[in-house]
Each structure stands twice: as C-alpha cells, then as structure tokens.
Symmetry: C2
Subunit: 679 residues, 2 copies
C-alpha cells in the first residue's frame, strides 16, 4: 500500500506539471454538459445545450413534459416533504424541523441542475424560463444562507449533529451532496452566467480540499459522485487542486486510516485503489458514478492503469451484467450488481439512477474515444432503461425497472429516497448536449432526432447541422449540413449497432458504405457547402433478440427489438390470454402498426404466437419431458408496445423476454414478412 | 377480529369437551417420532424408531455417519462455540461469558433430540449408545440446573436481560427454544424412558401456558415451532391444556395487544389467524413449521377451516414454490419464499432447515390422510434437498442448497447460526420411524430401503415386514410379510409418482396393477401368512424433467431424474468443457453406470450433449436470433452425479437444470436407448 502511495504521489507531481492550465476558458454559455475543450485526452469536444435545438420529435416531447410537468410537480413534492424547508430552517427559520433522510440536499441540487439545463435550452418557452429562474434564484438564496462561513454546507449535520461531520464518510453522503451541489452550480452557471451557486459550491469544495487529503484528514467517497463533480469544477475553473483531489479519491489509500471494511468498500465501489477493480460489484449507482469520475479524471490527466481498468469494467458491464434495456444492478439487496449473467427479469432492480449513470458514463467514454460502441450503449439505455423511468405524464417515476412483472404498481409520484426523479429530469433537460460533438476534423452526429445544431467547427468555422426524421419509429434521417462557407471536414454519422445495413446518399448521390460497419461512425469527408443534404436509411426490422445462453432467466426466450427500442408485452393488450401462458413463434412474421393515439404515439408490433391449451397455472411444477409437444397449440396474436411505455395504463403484468415455442421449427431470419408503415 | 375471538372461544370449549383424553398411553418405547395412537383424525399411526431396523443400504449409511461422525463432531463444535457453556454458566460457573446468538439453546436441544433417536435405534452400536447417553445425561444436568424455580429456562434472557423476557416475542426466539426443548425432552423420553428433560420442558411449558393466553399476557410465536412441540406434549401427557394453547397460538388474536406489524406477521407466518393464510410467504422455515404445527393441531382437534388452509398452502408450495429437489425458500433476503414460480437456480436459498421442515410437514400430512402424494414430496425432499445438506463425510453442512453454482464453497463445518446441522441430524436419526405406518386395516410401506419392521397390526397381531433392495439405485424391492399368524389385512405399497409402471408379484404370482396408479398406494388385501413375499419392480429410467414454463430460470432446460434422485452436473466431471457452455441433447440416449468407488457408491448418468463452438463467455450478451443454429455444435459427453452428492470433492461449478440444445429436433421419449446396469 505504501509503495502505491509513493508512486501515486510521483505520478501526481508529474500530472500537475504536465496538465496544462487551461489558458483561456470559453464563456459560460459555450460550455457543454461536460466541458472538454482543454482536456488532454478527449477526442471529441461537447456542444453546449444552448447550441442544440430539439424540434418536434421523440425527445422534444419528453423534454417538454419534463419542463412543463415534471419540474413543477417534483418541486412541489420536494417542498411538501420539507426538502427546501431543510435549508429555510438554517436561513432564519430554526423552528422548522428537519425532515427526510440525510441525503435530501442532493435531491434539491439535482432538481436545480435539471432546471438549469431547461433554462439553457432555447426550446424552453420564455415564460417557463422565467418561472424556473425565479424558483432557482429563490432556492439559491436559501442554500447560500445555509452555508457556514467555513464553507461547510449540509442541512443534516447541523445543531446537535455538528460533531458527526465527516465522521462516517462511508454512510454520511456529505461527499455525495457536495458533488451534486457542484454539478448544480456548474449547470446554473453554464445556463445563466450566474456564479452564485457555483461560488457556494466552490467554497464547500475548498473546505474539503483544504482539510482532507493524504497528509491531512482522511477522506473517502462513501457514495461516489464527487469525483465527476470535482473534475468538472477543474474544467470550469482551471484550478488543478480539484483534479489532484480526484486523484487522491481514486487512489484508495485511506483504507487503514478510515478502518474501511472490505464489505463496505465493495458496496461503495470506493476506498480501495480504483485501478484494483477488475469487475463491477456492489451498489450499481455508486460503481457507475465512480467509473464516470475515473473516466473524467483519465480524460484530463491520463494514466494507462485507469484506462485499462475502465476497459475491463466496460466489458464486464456490457457482456455480463447489463439488461437488454441498458438497465444495470440486478439485485434489490444492496441495490447491487449480481454475479456474471445474473440478470433476472421479474426480480430485476435496474434502478433508474443506474441507467442514468450508464448513459453518463458511456457519454464520457464516447467523448474520450469517438468510439460508437459507447454510443450504442448510451442509445440503448436512454431509449429503454432510462426512458421507462418517467411516466408519459411526467409525474410518475419508476425506481425499479424490471423486465417482467406480475402486475404490481411500478410508477409512483414520490419515493422517500427520491434520487431517481430529479436524476432523470437533469438527463432529459441536458439531452441536447448529447446529440452532437466536435472533433479536430469535423462533427459527430451521435443521436438521431429532429434537431438543429448551431455551433462551429474546431477552427471556428460556423456550422449548422439539422436533422429531419421520424426516428426511432423510422430509420430514415435527412441531415442538412451548412458550414458558414464551403469547407473541408468530416461528418461522422453513427451507424447504430442494431442496423443490419445502411444506405447513405449525399445530395441524392448514393455513397458506397462497404468500407463501414454497423456499430461505427461513417465518416464522410469532403468539402461541405451550405445546404448539403445527407440521406441515411437504416432498415427498421422487428428483430427477435436472444441473450447469451448463460443468462439463465432469458434462455429459450426472445425479446423483440425494433431500432433502438426494446419491446414488451403488457397483459391488457393480450385479449385475456394470461401472459405466463404465451409463447413466441419465432418462425412467424412480425407486423408493424403505427398507433398515433396510443401511449403518446407509438408503433406497436404484432406477432403470431401460441398459448398453452391448459392454463399453466393449473399444470404441475415438474413433469417428464413429453415425447411430442403437448402444449402451446392455441394460436394467439401477441401485441408488443415499446418497453419505455409500460405501466402507463392500469397496473398489469408485463414481460420483455417471451418464451419461444420450441417445437415449431427453427426460427427464420428476422426479415420475413415485415410490413413497414410510416407516419 | 372480536367476532373471530368469540367464535374461536366457543370452538375451543367444544374442542376440549370433544377431544377425548387419551385413556391409556403406550409405553415410552412404543411411541413414534410423532405419536398418533389416540389422534382424532389420523388415518395412519406411526411406528416407533425402535421397531424399525435399517439394514445395510442407502439410508443406513447416512445414519451410520450421522451417529459416528456428525453427532460427536457437532457436539465438539457446540462446546467450542460456548453453546454448552451457556448452560454451565447458570450451573454455578458465572465467570463463563455467554456466547453466540440468542437462539443457541435450540441448537443444543436439536442435537439432544438427534442423539435420543440414535439411542432409540437398534442399529446403533451399544458403545455408541453408551457414549451418547453419557453425553446427553451430562447435558441434561446442566440444562436442568439452569432452569429457574418458575420453570423459565433460557440462557440468553438472564442477568441484566431478565427484564427483556417475553418483551419482544417476534424476535426473541424464547418460543422457538422452548419448542425444541420439548421435542428433545419427548425424544429422549421415547428413547430411554427418562423423564428428566421431558419434565424440565413441561415445567417451562406450564410456565408459558399459565402466564400467557387470550385472557392473560399476550403471546405469539415469532419463530413457529412451539405449535408442533405443544401438540406432541399433549400426545405424550394427555393434558389438553397444551392443545388448547396451540389453538390460541394458531388463532392469531394478539395482533393489537402486541402491536404486530404486517411485515413482521408476513415474515413470521404467525400472529394473524392461521386460517387467513392463502399462500406461503415470508420466512420459509417459520412458515413450514407453522403449517406442520397446524397439521398436528388438526390431526388432534379437527377444524375444517384449518384443513382447507393446509390444502391451499400445500398446493401453493408444490405447484408454485418448490424446487425439484424439494428445497423451498427461494430468496436469501429474509430466507423467504419468492413470488409464484420465482425459483432461481444459482440464487436459490433453499435452506437445509426448510427441506427438513418440508419432510416433517409432509410426514404429518401422510399420517393424517394416507395419501401417497405427500409421500412423493417427502421422498423427493429427503433424497435430494435434505440429503444434500450434509456431506458424505458427515461433518460439513450446506446452509443454502442452490441448484447451480459458479464454484463457491457450499459446505462448511460450522455456521454462526448453526440451525441446519442438528436439524438434519435429528431427521436422519429418526428416519426409521418414517418407513412404515399402521392403519386400521393393515400396514403402509412408505419408503423403500433394506429394513425390517418388527411391530404389530392395530389389533395387536405381531407383524414383521422386511425389505431387500438396492433402492434407490434399483427399482426392484422384495418385501417379506410375516404376521405372527395367518391374518387378513392389507399391505399398502407405495407406487412412487416418478415410476411410469409397476410390476407386483405375490409369492411369484403376478398381480394385476391396472386398478392402481402411480403416486398412490397399491393395496394388497388378503390373508397373509408368515413368509409371504411380494416382489415389486419399478422401472428406473433416467428421465429428463422439465419445469412449468412459468419458472423463468428453468425454461428451455431439463433436469435429469432417475427414481427419486435428481441429478446434477459438476464441472470437474466434464473434461474441461465449461459448464456454462454445455447443452443437453434431448434426442440422445442417457446411459447408466454403476460407480461403487465414487462418492460413497453412486450410479452416474452419461448423456451425449453439445457445447458451443466458441466460449460463451466471449460471446456478446444480446444478439439477433440467428436464422440457422450457429452454436452448440461440438459433441460432448455430459456426466451427471446425484444432486445430493455435489460439493464433496473440490469446490466446482455445478448445475441441475441444463439448457436444451434447441435445434436438434424434438425430444424423444425417455425410454430410448437406456442401458441399465445393476449392482
């Protein structure tokens, strides 16, 4: 352990020497969700939320309901449960009792971050911006007033709990609340230029950095999150001490001084050297935030051991521990990862926060590398495991996102631990910042939806890129590229991993795509002129997916996917045939039906299936395998809806992985008999 | 609730009036594991452990290692961990500190019960009997000395914890320890005639009965077990107050007085009226003990509502919540039942104690009804889910009994909560008492193994029944029936549910069995003469079993069974092919191979299977379903051992449910190509 500390310090010294102080920072409004213009290792630079307009389409609808419904109703609930009052009582209202678990401050900070990105966005109405800005300013006033002269700021460890400050870092969430304070401060600064909350967060961050460290009092992130926040604070201020403290957090040298237990370090995914991890374990959100923070650190400072660890972890996650929805964290117990391939459907935990974290992590890896495999995971998680987390109405949330259910109510307006609602809101509101990115040689189109980017190339040449599409319901996208003047650069168009082919044409002239592969970016380098049009077409076949046979719960089953959307059966759509008695006939064609009136406008899939002759609930639990098939003979039509839309009608049983009717011959290719409809 | 209390009291009055005081009790040595000679509703009467000799065979080997290895090594470990000292400190050794969790007394009582049945058995050597009796007498001396004049007896709630007695019944285990004290006292009395421990247990039971009740202080069984014990105490003493107190416990009227929470009552399976239960939930051992106690109560006192509840629960257990091994309790969290069909293999809890409880419950239901469906469950659980719980060496125990494992060490000599080891020992030692039973019209042969019953018919006619067999490795059993003089009665031979056919001959003359069905008793009524011989033959085909498709983890998989034994794959037998890459070819013949040298002498099964061409651990997690099969092409031979024998070599991955290779055509009947070997 000592040796590690020593080499770590040597590394740190060289790091601080080599990481160039950002010479000139972009104006607040030019900084993206994460800001990488001066990052050592970033292949891509982010585009500010302000610079991207999501026009009418799939995600603009989700953002609209977030802005107009989710943010106001959640703020009202945070008020109702005393989360804001917890600050007011420190702002001259000592008679107000403190309410809620010890981490409630973070929920308000996340709400502020979400509101900040809503304010930043140019499709939020002026009226909504005004209202949100008024709310945030008022909240900041209470927050700043609650801050102590030392910089310490936490509504729980006050009064008779002052002596407990930083005495139980594995559980106190002081680190976690500080992290979200910093992120909220940065977001509001990038949205408005106001430094009031940012400066408060800096004061608290400075308090921690000055009082803790390898040669001071020991620190550990009991709930990793601060790592991401401190690197972003370094990116925002240029002050290397925040990056150095992140290095200290990742170094994991305080096990002995803090008497950390192995079980705690496993649960926290923190406390031991980050580079000693070889697989994901413990609390899923903690682990993914830790990995995100380590990615941020690597993006700024390098360190090949961290990069190797990130690669190991990513492979572990995506090949052994992730649901097809992008959801992660299999177990309710400890909200934790399971063993490899332990991905139960009905018992799945798959917390919304963990899906949000999965998107955040893969976004960081994408910007670090420009590798579309990260965008594939980001897209899968965003459209399914994240998107399921908020109701279509915008005011009901999933905490768990299971892949099967016997009909319990999955969506609720409030949870005592209400981490997920503001987390999904901050992601949805910041989503414009995820769509495009800039590289040294051009522009990346990461996500497809009606949108317009108004930004510039790395050399300053103005550039707008706009999309017209019905994605994800259609695979046709028209991209218009308009540099301020004709210029040679590359447009990188993502060929999603789910698309078996891609047709690309520039100004009506087909482009040979044989050199490119699915799951990569198609680079189109040429001299682009204002108004150049790229047409891309990805075939949107309903695709029966199978899982690696090592996933016990999914063996012999299929999940339908079409484009980025995973589909599910809800009981109420199956004409009374019990969901547990339904089988998928893999040899039968799946048809596509556009239903604009249903669930906010969706495309449903219909597949001929079969049902057992007798109710399986009345059949024995174990029987000798029959010599000839005796079950599954009754033909039925299965109706699938997108997974994200589950639970928006009455509570009803649901399943993603449908058992295959085994005895109707081998499956045929997924191209058979599909009928494609368009809007 | 009040109405229920009122009607309950009315019922109780009529009950005490109608339940005839047993007029004459059999001598101590004539009482079985449970004693039913005077039970109102029992169709069968048990046969004492003393009256059945298990000669060389499957179960005598397990009993022998239990007596010679398990009992002495476990007593040494109980000593080492202070469980006996906890009594000594109250027997004039106050300097000894109390050790272990608050329920350690029960572990020693269960050990005494096991030793008592060993002493009762006429195949235990005189030397072993002497040694065990010496141990037990010494233990009883300390136990009795620790008892207070009031009758109270518990080593935890003493000293500065006296004021906590009976203040937290949902968690204190005082009820549970008393139950095991009573059962140990009864067993030792039935084994030796000594009333010393029995009388101590009566004193404590009387303390409880006198101080608690609907009109006295409220009581609840936080860990049901006392119910069974009190009914057995009623059967032993004839004192109806113990039966009446059991009625009170089952009535569930103390919810309000004890401020019981719904979650606690669900976990305890106690506190609310027993007859209000409609399915198993909560802690599996608690629930099955509660059901066993309710069965005992019904057997004595009747009450149709209890019988209906028992039927509901049994159907729930055996059609929705039981592993193919007879193991129950799917979840580690709360050691609890899962949802219907929630039966994960690798995450299975399936505590050994729950399997023991499943055997105890089904034994009670069998004696109540004479219905072989209970014997089927009893046999399945005994041979598999219970038998796996103790190593072949007799000194290592499973707490969990999962149906798949990635290689963790499942067997340990000691657990801080060491409930399972003495539980399996008391069952194994009392096993002779499970083999036979007496009805008004004859004798029941419940289990098959080399054995001799020396007992009598209901009318007093002396009767020996002996078996010669290689069961469970062979399905041929020779039963010799020898009444003291020619007499007309029925011999009931169990036709196991797993046997597709049965051939029966009396003195060489085949008997027509068309009138009988599998899963029932074959009744052979005639005038039996001394030395009459019945030959029974059940075909022992290796049978690929499938689970109800609603069991997500087992869909598309098969488990091999042969006779009562469930089989499993262990990694070390598979020639290096990773277990996760192995598929079962259902169309291929399974061969049988006797291996006397392996794992104490077993019959292994070999089946041609297939393995994926590439390591599945290196394949993606989710892929489009291929149009033609691309996996599972490499032929391999799968080697199966009986499930109970797993984990007796090095720790190694294991699985019971093997995925079916989907694309090699429909399965053929399980009769194809089997090669039967005999000893």
């Amino acid at each position: 352990m000592k040796l590690f500390v020593a080499s770590g310090l040597v590394f740190a010294t060289s790091l601080v020497a080599s990481a160039t102080e950002p010479e000139q920072h972009a104006a607040w409004k030019d900084q993206g969700v994460i800001y990488l213009d001066h990052s050592l290792n970033a292949r891509l630079h982010s585009v500010p939320v302000q610079a991207v307009h999501l026009s009418d389409g799939f995600w603009s609808a989700r953002r609209k309901v977030t802005t107009e419904r989710s943010l106001p109703t959640l703020l009202a609930l945070l008020e109702e449960h005393g989360v804001v009052d917890n600050f007011r009582r420190l702002d001259g209202r000592p008679e107000i009792p403190r309410k809620g678990p010890l981490y409630t401050d973070s929920d308000l900070y996340k709400w502020i971050e979400a509101a900040a990105w809503a304010i930043a966005s140019n499709e939020t109405s002026e009226a909504d911006k005004q209202m949100l800005r008024g709310d945030v300013e008022s909240l900041i006033t209470h927050i700043v007033a609650a801050q102590e002269p030392s910089g310490y700021l936490n509504t729980y460890f006050v009064g008779d709990k002052v002596h407990l400050r930083f005495t139980d870092l594995p559980h106190s969430h002081e680190d976690y609340c500080l992290g979200h304070l910093i992120q909220a401060g940065i977001a509001y600064y990038r949205a408005t230029g106001s430094r009031r909350l940012l400066d408060a967060s800096i004061r608290f961050a400075d308090y921690v950095v000055e009082n803790f460290g390898a040669t001071k009092r020991p620190f550990v992130t009991g709930h990793p999150e601060l790592e991401m926040a401190l690197v972003e604070l370094y990116r925002t201020t240029g002050d290397a001490k925040y990056l150095e403290f992140t290095r200290y957090l990742l170094s994991g040298v305080e096990k002995d001084r803090l008497k950390l237990k192995d079980a705690d370090m496993r649960y926290m995914f923190s406390g031991k050297p980050f580079v000693s991890h070889t697989e994901f374990e413990g609390h899923a959100v903690r682990a993914l935030y830790a990995a995100s923070g380590a990615t941020d650190y690597f993006t700024e400072a390098g360190d090949p051991a961290i990069r190797r660890t990130l690669d190991l972890l990513w492979t572990d996650l995506t090949t052994r521990k992730m649901y097809i929805t992008g959801g992660v964290g299999s177990r309710s117990a400890g909200e934790s990862f399971g063993d490899p391939y332990e991905l139960p459907s009905e018992q799945a935990y798959a917390e919304t926060c963990a899906s949000v974290a999965n998107v955040m992590w893969n976004f960081r890896l994408l910007l670090l590398t420009g590798d579309a495999r990260y965008t594939d995971i980001l897209e899968r998680t965003l459209y399914n495991g994240v998107n399921s987390g908020m109701s279509l109405s915008g005011n009901l949330y999933c905490y768990r996102n299971p892949l099967a259910s016997s009909g319990e109510k999955l969506r609720n307006p409030w949870y005592d631990t209400t981490c997920c609602p503001p987390n999904i809101e901050r992601l949805f509101e910041s989503l414009p910042g995820y769509f495009y990115a800039i590289s040294r040689d051009g522009v990346y189109v990461n996500l497809y939806d009606n949108s317009e980017m108004d930004w510039h190339l790395e050399d300053g040449t103005g550039l707008t890129v706009s999309q017209a599409t019905n994605y994800p319901w259609s695979g046709d996208v028209k991209v218009t590229v308009s540099p301020a003047h004709p210029a040679e650069f590359a447009v990188y168009l993502r060929w999603p991993g789910w698309a078996s082919s891609a047709e690309v044409a520039i100004n009506g002239q087909p482009i040979q795509t044989a050199a490119f592969r699915r799951g990569e970016y198609i680079s189109l380098s040429r001299t682009w002129k204002p108004g150049d049009v790229i047409n891309i077409a990805f075939p949107l076949q309903p695709t029966p997916m199978i899982a690696n046979p090592r996933v016990a719960d999914d063996y012999g089953r299929t999940a339908l996917q079409r484009g980025p959307l995973v589909y599910a059966l809800e009981q109420i759509d199956q004409n009374g045939v019990p969901l547990g008695d339904i089988f998928f006939r893999s040899s039968a064609p799946v048809t596509v039906e556009v239903r604009k009136e249903l669930l906010g406008g969706i495309t449903i899939l219909r597949a001929p299936g079969s049902a057992s002759e007798k109710l399986l609930s009345e059949e024995p639990l174990y029987t000798p395998m029959p010599a000839v098939p005796t079950r599954n003979k009754r033909p039925v039509i299965l109706t699938f809806i997108p997974y994200y839309a589950i639970g928006n009608r009455e509570p009803t049983p649901m399943e993603v992985w449908v058992p295959l009717s085994r005895f109707d011959g081998p499956p045929v290719a997924q191209t058979a008999g599909n009928v494609e409809h368009h809007f």
